[in-house]
Each structure stands twice: as C-alpha cells, then as structure tokens.
Assembly symmetry: C2
C-alpha cells in the first residue's frame, strides 16, 4: 500500500447478492430487472440484486449486502455468506469495477419476491437460469450454485431453507433438490439427528398417510459440518 497520493482513478465498487430458496421442487434464485430506459447498461436485462456501495449508508460490505437483501425481500436475518469478488476492466461498460458477491438462503415461506415489484424468482436448471444475465452475473450465479452444492454435501445449510417447523422428509427433499440426486433415507436421518441441529416440537404433520414428526432448528444454531460428504457421485 505504498504510494503517497490518493489522486488516481478508483474502480467502481458494488455488492451483489445471490438469493436462493427452494420451492415447487426446484432451487430458485431471485433476480431483478434492470431499467429499460435511461443510460444504464444492460437495459431490461435480468440481474442479481445489488448495486453500488453507499459510503454514507453502509458501514461495511456485509451491511451493504443486508441492505440490498432487505430492499428486495423484506427479510432481515437470513443465512448470508460471502461468496467471492469479481473485478476486471471489462465487466461493467462504465469502467473498471469490482463486485463483492454474497449468497443468501431463505425459507420459501417468507413472502419474498412479492416484496419488490421488479424482483422475480427463477428456477435453476442445470446450474443456470434461463435468461442471459447482465454483467458477469451468469458467472457469479454459477459459482454460487457450485458453492452451495459443494457445501450442502457436508453441512447443514439446507436447514436455512426450511420454514419454522418442518419434518425430516421435508429437509431431505431440500437436500435432494439442491444436490439433484436422491439420498438414502436412513443414513440421512442418522446423520441429521446425530448433528444435534434440530429438536422435535410437540406436533405432527398430518397427511393422507402416516404423520411425520415436526422439528425446528435449535436456537441460534450455526451450520454443522459433517466429517464425510454424502455418497459422492461417482
């Protein structure tokens, strides 16, 4: 950090958030549509929610990510993890820019997506989303999906995709949707219960068949790391 003067051009600094949820038996990501008018780049294209760091409002990068998340979803304390940063001369036509990317996991039950008029959930198919995204957001989304998949192999992250009360088969389905492959029931149950992650509540989920025990996340539970991955494909 040598070089006395600060009088040189600075890159643009942005924060983008990849917001995931699981609904309708698929992993979904929340995208926003860029304005079609004005002199904005990528008019009308879909993009990750995000934007410039506001050095007046944002005390740090995470607060900035939280602010953008809340703007689009109304959700205030989701699971939020830094994903990485992307910066280069060409990624934004307005000049050298660097974005700090985060990813968030939300239960589908939050009304998120109906909260901002320009935001909409898109299903993720084969690790991607249908529309071509603005900037390098397609690349960032792919990285987020990879990170999520690889962490789901050995962590309890899908617990953050669940509503307040859920059954073990519900949670297993969330794992299977993210990983896009079936998991073995008894090994799954053993592992989750041994992790001391969830606790039963005094209710059952009723249905046209045998009722299932409802659980909830234990209070203030940080993600659990398992020492083995699930049956690695191949």
């Amino acid at each position: 950090m040598t070089g006395g003067s600060l009088d040189f051009p600075r890159p643009l600094t942005t924060v983008d958030v990849v917001i995931f949820t699981v609904k309708d038996d698929a992993l979904h990501v929340l995208l926003v549509q860029r304005p079609a008018a004005g002199d904005e780049p990528f008019p009308g294209a879909w993009a990750l929610p995000g934007g410039f760091v506001d050095i007046e409002k944002d005390k740090d990068l995470e607060a900035c990510a939280m602010r953008k998340l809340k703007d689009k979803t109304g959700v205030v304390s989701p699971y939020l993890e830094q994903l990485g940063s992307w910066g280069s001369a060409g990624r934004d036509p307005r000049g050298w820019s660097a974005t700090h990317a985060y990813f968030a996991l939300l239960p589908a039950t939050t009304g998120a997506g109906t909260h901002a008029a320009d935001a909409q959930w898109f299903p993720i198919v084969a690790g991607k989303v249908k529309p071509r995204l603005a900037f390098d957001h397609g690349e960032i989304l792919e990285a987020a999906v990879l990170r999520l998949r690889s962490k789901v192999e050995y962590t309890s992250l899908p617990a953050y995709l669940m509503p307040g009360e859920f059954t073990l088969p519900d949670l297993q389905r969330a794992y299977e949707i993210v990983l896009d492959r079936p998991l073995e029931k008894s090994a799954f149950r053993t592992r989750i219960l041994a992790a001391d992650l969830i606790e039963p509540v005094a209710r059952m989920r009723k249905g046209p068949n045998r009722p299932a025990q409802l659980y909830r996340l234990k209070k203030a539970k940080a993600p659990v790391y398992f020492v083995r991955t699930f049956n690695p494909p191949g």
Copy 2:
C-alpha cells in the same frame, strides 16, 4: 444497480495477498514493512503485501494479486486462491476502503523473501504472528490460517508447499505443521497414494537411516478433495 450518475464518492480498492510457506518446522507468512516516513498510515508497521488496484496495469483482481506476489517473491505461478474481501468505513484512515484478499502457497525452496528488501518471513504461532499488523491485516491473516487449516483437512493443498521432489514423510510433516497435530502414518500414506496425486521418481532420499522414496507432483495437478477429513480433533 440503479441510479444513473456515477458522480458519487468511490471506496478505495486494494488487493492483499497472504503468502504462506512451511520452513524450519513452522508455517510462515511473508510480511512487508510499511514506510516510516511520508503521510502513509501505519508507518513502520508490518502488513500483508498488497496495495491499490492499478486500473491501467491490472486487467482483473487475480492479475493484480499475481503482480503483487511477483513483486515481493519473484514467483510467477504459485497456488493462488481467493480468500474473501474486507471493506468498511474505518479499516483505512484514508477513507472507506475494500480489499480483495488472496492466499498463496509457496515451496520454501524458492528464494522468496530475499527477493524484496522490505519483505520478511514470520512464523505463525497459535494462528497469529508476533507483530501487530497494519489495517485489519491481523484479522485477514487469521481468516487465511483458518481457511488453510480447514482445507488441509480434506485436500492435497500441502503438496503446493513442497519442492519439486519430496518424500511421503516430508509431505506428512507439512500436513502436521499446518494442522498442528500428528497424523497417523499408514492412513496418511494410503490416502495420498490412492489420490493419484504424486508419482515416484527414480531416486531415493539418503540419510543416516533407511532411504525414502522421492516423489513429484503429477503434471498440472489440481488439488484433490478427499471425501473425509483427517481424524477430526475432538
């Protein structure tokens, strides 16, 4: 990314690199001393090698990290991984700033550290380094050590700390130094050899005792991920 004008204050953008090696039976990190004179913050303090992104010279963040690494060590193609970013109003007295942090692994045999006059290797003790570092570099270093330790549990990263030819006990020692605990010999050998990561060369290391087979990394070998961690502590 809405908001037409770009006419607002931009954060400072820097890149810092946590450069690790293993030597003298300890994990070491390369630090540089900040100038004592001038109007620079933290005069005379030790800091991670790094500095401002130069939008003329650096085509992207990784190229910027590579440049800083080469400036201080002369090494051109080490293992380099993005660690994360730290940005806030207060971390740099010159104003709102964000740094993109990388970490690199180097074999001790590169003359690195003798390359730049202001750079010096410091041993890491209990996850930290003796001097109090400039900016939030102490925090970044701690995160880097944590990341390195946790990845060494289930990857072949320490292979990048080895010279061109090395023995299995050498490699095991590198694992043990990073993890700061002994590993079981036969399980270690089984695992590494099964990973198809290294190949024997037609030479042995001689010593005052039984000679050991020398190996080298297989060409262009990406890090290997194991499906289990090593004997997890606790």
